[in-house]
């Protein structure tokens, strides 16, 4: 064999996909591929159930958009729909800004050990499951034995029935969301804050800028991009993750302001067995989420420095 043929066969080998090495590599990724295929891809065509008359025994006949019409004409659907968006709105109004304010104030604390302890304590709830968090607050707010009502009565007030007050529920839930996530979410802002060039502050001090002015003209612009990116990224998951907390916090008294689409789908689908209606509502929700994901993807190209997108 001369050198030319060796080189040619080497080249051919390089192009060949099924070399011994590559087969090994494909085998290594096979388990995740199979798992994803079965549990993520096989159920996908199941969305067609939303367009079918589907009983406990299975497919009966096609009904077009009737399941959607049935859902859209139900009072409880609109209630869950409205509540979901109320929580989204409360989320952006209160939950999203809270870690930013937390980080800005925390950034002004100069005592290292104090800073560290507060951070450690406030980050912990992020890792505790919603079931326990909901339980903690249900106990804390109990009208008879809860600590908050003990305090209210101690100071001569009348006990408040927090968990059975529908008007109060969105506020309580928002408070719990902040309580759970403020510490953890602030980490990324604190990291961004520590990345701001200290020379900017020194220059500002020489120019006679007050602390407030420094925050306004240096600190906030310094984390503006981080805020924008995180807000845009959050669009893609606004309707997600509400099942667990609501499923524990919901009761017959506060249901009218607590029920969200996720828990609604569960109760009409799994509990009542109306698979077709539940799938239609799920599909409707998925379309909204997908639209928001594309929106986030489109916007993220504008707000990230390098024009990076999510997808």
């Amino acid at each position: 064999m001369d050198t030319a043929t060796t080189r040619r066969s080497y080249k051919r080998n390089q192009k060949k996909i099924l070399t011994r090495t590559n087969i090994m590599l494909y085998l290594m990724i096979l388990p995740p591929l199979v798992l994803y295929y079965i549990f993520r891809y096989v159920p996908m065509p199941g969305i067609m159930i939303g367009f079918q008359q589907y009983g406990l025994s299975g497919f009966k006949y096609w009904v077009g958009f009737r399941n959607f019409n049935v859902a859209f004409s139900t009072f409880f659907f609109w209630e869950a729909f409205r509540n979901s968006w109320v929580f989204v709105a409360f989320g952006y109004l209160f939950v999203t800004p809270s870690p930013i304010i937390f980080a800005l104030l925390m950034n002004e604390i100069r005592i290292k050990w104090y800073k560290k302890s507060v951070q450690t304590i406030s980050t912990l709830p992020h890792f505790i499951t919603w079931v326990v968090i909901a339980g903690l607050f249900i106990q804390l707010l109990s009208p008879s034995t809860g600590y908050v009502n003990l305090l209210i009565r101690f100071f001569g007030g009348q006990p408040i029935f927090f968990m059975s007050n529908a008007a109060l529920f969105p506020w309580l839930f928002t408070f719990m969301r902040i309580w759970k996530n403020v510490g953890y979410s602030s980490i990324i802002y604190l990291a961004a804050l520590s990345g701001i060039d200290p020379q900017l502050y020194e220059a500002a001090v020489i120019d006679g800028a007050s602390r407030i002015k420094q925050v306004w003209h240096i600190t906030l612009p310094g984390i503006r991009n981080t805020i924008l990116v995180l807000v845009v990224l959050s669009f893609s998951s606004v309707l997600a993750g509400m099942f667990e907390p609501i499923f524990v916090l919901k009761n017959p008294m506060n249901r009218s302001t607590a029920e969200v689409l996720d828990t609604y789908i569960y109760s009409i689908g799994i509990i009542q067995g109306k698979f077709n209606i539940a799938t239609a509502v799920g599909l409707f929700k998925a379309l909204i989420s997908m639209f928001l994901l594309f929106l986030a993807n489109f916007l993220s190209k504008r707000v990230t420095e390098d024009g990076r997108s999510i997808l």
Binding site: I17, Y26, L35, Y36, I109, S117, L136, F154, V248, S309
Partner: protein, 299 residues
Amino acid sequence: MLKRSTGEKVFNIANIIFFLLFTVLMLLPILFVLKQSLDVGIQGELNISLIPKKFSLLYYEMVLKEESVYRPFLNSVYITIVGTSSSLLVNAIGAYTLSKRELPGGKFFIYFLVIIPMLFGGGLIPTYLLMRALGFIDRFAVLIIPAMASGWYMILIRNYYWSIPNSLAESARIDGAEEFTVFFRIILPLAKPVLAAIALFAGVSFWNTFMAAIIYMRSPKKYTFPVKLREMILLQNDKNTQEMEERLMAMGLDLNEIAVSSDGLSSAMMIVSMVPIILVYPYLQKHFAAGIMVGSIKG
């Protein structure tokens, strides 16, 4: 040293006090439940002390002795151990393939495992019907197998593999080592830090398994701990007290001296559920940065 104005001094002190109050607010729910779980004293009207009136480990004893409570606890321990170890193995091995930039089809894997599942999904009902067809209802497999592989974890692990100097693997290849050997002998031992982080994240999420258990598990014997906890939380306090007293009489306790409630038991369960998290928390903290990155890295 820069001079500070009076206004700034006031702000600094107010800020420190604010965070002190904030910390109290963060701790209060946990401390209150801790107190409830340790207290069997008869509460006088308006006892706002957070110190147990009559200290007792009775509720924790009940958690250990009551089968309907310790069984779900053991179930959660089981799925956490099996789920975390299998998830670690599957993702660590798969991520090695993803780390090969020149491998044909590499882009397809990212689309298949991360991007398409982010856009489309069957939703609750079709997934439920699949599990039913597979005979997975009421079996622990349904809580472990579908949650085993994770595209995000794989990307995180892959990024770490990329940071391992190529020369090590290269020299082994020159010595005639195959890819399997290179992976298990060289890459995997060097990837311990990222694997520890993933083990913690997966462990926490298996330990907190709730939604899947609510949907798929039927018999109370197979509940996970959070599911049992929810059941306890939602029990009406007074309705349960009588049942509770009967249990206590069976345990041979004098009911005139103590006051028990299902609140106490569910408080103890919440503390038990939090303890493993608090134990691994210092290690979790070390990997915060990585955890945040899970949500923000592109394939």
